[in-house]
Amino acid sequence: MIGDYTYVEFSSILAMQGFAGLSLFSVFVLMALGLAIIFGQMGVINMAHGEFMILGAYVTYFCSLFFQEYLPSLFGIYFFIAMILAFFVSGALGVVVEWLMIRHLYKRPLDTLLATWGLSLILQQFYRSVFGAREVGVTLPDWLLGSISLTDIIDVPINGLFVMAITLTITLGVAFIMYKSTWGKQIRAVVQNRTMAGAVGINTKMVDRMTYGLGCGIAGVAGSAFTMIGSTGPTAGQLYIVDTFLVVVFGGAASLLGTIASAFTISQAQSTMEFFMSGSTAKVLTLLTVVGILMLRPQGLFTLKIRR
């Protein structure tokens, strides 16, 4: 007996909250991966990251409408096409933004913060004017609805499982790009020593642009996955941006492993506490703990040793 619950009930509650935490973890990881690439690798603060994510969500929404209208037979798999589209649309916008704005500001990181905040305001209003202020939700194909019952008490929703599977795939993909592909090697070379990377023939400007595009593209995929568990509105991105930055900073900016570890810690802490107290108190406690730890250990959980 623990409190008013039997042991079985209590462990089920823990498992359910743990699963809810895993859903939150997936969203955090997906958002934070893109941010970790842009912030950790390039040192650019992308305050418009949430808006890139929402762009992906809108792409998914329109994809679902399109398939419902014209290709109902393929509706079951529209989601995969939508994710690929979301990646390229958000990524392309990212490349354009880098070319117009970010490349002039690499040496003024605080100013990128203000400029991308301006960009996020513009994008928000753009979504509101074009897509309307109302929140929209996608229709899920049948095979994603429902849930699997593990025991009498524990139910696991299928769409949550699917989002986790996507998260895992994308994380592995990003890890592969960053650590195995030539492109990833170039990115890391530029991060570690820009001048030398240029001297051995890497086009550092191009690498910057594509890295930024990659980060934004992943944000788009994150938004696409996000539509499965929540609705999309013009300002939905802003709700997550601070949490996501904390995840990235807490994990140690330049380390992908750290980002995942910190997303896991923060999301589990928050969802477990949410059961015992009100949502806002749980959130305040989680954020305060993170900020407190960051004040004691500003470099984050995992650090990359770089000779400067």
Binding site: L110, G118, L119, I122, S278, S280, V291
Partner: protein, 380 residues
């Protein structure tokens, strides 16, 4: 330091011009409703002046000035609310004598930390001290460990988010999302009448001019030069034997105290305080006031706060859809094209023009050129 040497000649002119516009021109030409609005805009100028010192000169970008603005405002609002909640005024409540929102949330007695706000003297001290202590704790923890720049900005932003969630969540103690409303009198003096609004406007302007003078004093003192040196080459200052973190903590606390005074004046003039002036969005907007005016110019900060807020009111009344586009564009333009803001435009384009017409102003123009941020400093 001799008071006449606080400003050079052209700065005295600027200071006198701003004082004349705010104290004489505005009250005589615009009606009390608009004047009250100007007063509200000017409360943001306190924050902007703080940011000029902290960000423009010290290189510390705080995205959490709303925290201090809000804390100052809430301290004032708590005092006014307690005064408005006399047992006679609140006799219909189940517990008379406590603020209405506490009664709605089933609180039966005043929380202990509300008690001292029955005293005006305590409140005035708290308006300055509470935000300064918080700024001291944040600053001490961060700057001692040499956290700066981007990390500092993100952490202050997170703290602004935390404070907003806390205020909204603890409805019974803070008034929740609606904030503390329905404020009536200050020591029996009705603050909602037109004459009170005039007086509060003048108090506000005089406080603001005082804050600008304090800021100018800091700017021209030896400490002001160290601040710029820290922004441009922190390590060299450290190697010269100065304790960089103490200086940073001090300037951050000073900016926090300025913001808090602005917050308190905001509550007095607008008549309420709510979490919508604390969070992330208002805090970043406060940075843009300083950026538009010119991040190095104290007068620019005042003008920037006035202009941006005036534009915000006008735009959002007439073209609500365009406002966010304009605001976003302003952020981008000010960062990319005019990093020195209006003050930079003035000293680059207008001053040489004046100097050509009036040759004896040439020296002043040259001096102004010399104080412009070199692009290298921005690159830091």
């Amino acid at each position: 330091m001799n008071i006449t040497r606080l400003f050079d000649r052209s700065e005295w002119l600027g200071f006198a011009a701003i004082a004349a516009i705010l104290l004489i021109l505005f009250p005589s030409v615009i009606d009390i409703f608009r004047l009250n609005l100007v007063g509200k805009y000017l409360t943001y100028a306190f924050v902007a002046v703080g940011l000029v010192l902290c960000w423009g000169h010290g290189g510390i970008l705080s995205l959490g000035q709303g925290i201090f603005f809000g804390l100052g405002g809430y301290c004032m609002a708590m005092f006014l609310k307690l005064e408005a909640s006399t047992p006679e005024n609140t006799s219909i409540q189940s517990t008379p004598g406590i603020p209405d929102f506490m009664d709605w949330n089933q609180l039966t007695e005043l929380p202990w930390w509300w008690e001292p706000f029955n005293s005006l003297a305590f409140t005035i001290v708290a308006i300055i001290v509470v935000p300064s202590i918080l700024a001291f704790i944040i600053g001490q923890a961060m700057f001692q460990r040499r956290v700066g720049g981007v990390y500092f900005a993100i952490i202050t932003q997170a703290i602004a988010a935390i404070l907003t969630i806390l205020i909204v969540g603890q409805q019974g103690y803070t008034g929740g999302i609606n904030g503390i409303t329905d404020l009536r009198t200050l020591l029996g003096w009705d603050i909602r009448t037109d004459s009170a609004k005039y007086i509060l406007y003048f108090v506000n302007v005089i406080l603001l001019l005082g804050v600008v003078m304090i800021a100018q004093f800091v700017k021209v003192s030896k400490f002001g030069r160290l601040l710029v040196a820290m922004r441009d080459k922190e390590d060299r200052v450290r190697f010269s034997g100065y304790n960089v973190s103490d200086f940073k903590v001090f300037i951050f606390c000073l900016a926090a105290a300025f913001s808090a005074i602005g917050g308190a004046m905001f509550t007095l003039q607008v008549g309420f305080m709510s979490p919508s002036f604390v969070g992330i969005v208002p805090s970043i907007e406060m940075v843009i006031f300083a950026a538009v005016g010119g991040r190095l110019s104290l007068f620019g900060a005042v003008i920037g706060a006035l202009l941006v807020n005036f534009a915000k009111t006008t735009f959002s009344e007439t073209f609500p859809e365009l406002w966010l586009f304009a605001m976003g564009g302003l952020f981008i333009a000010v960062v990319m094209a005019f990093p020195n803001g209006l003050a930079g435009i003035y000293s680059t384009y207008v001053k040489p023009l004046i100097a050509r017409i009036l040759p004896n102003e040439q020296k002043a123009a040259n001096a102004a050129q010399a104080t412009k941020v070199p692009t290298k400093a921005l690159a830091e």
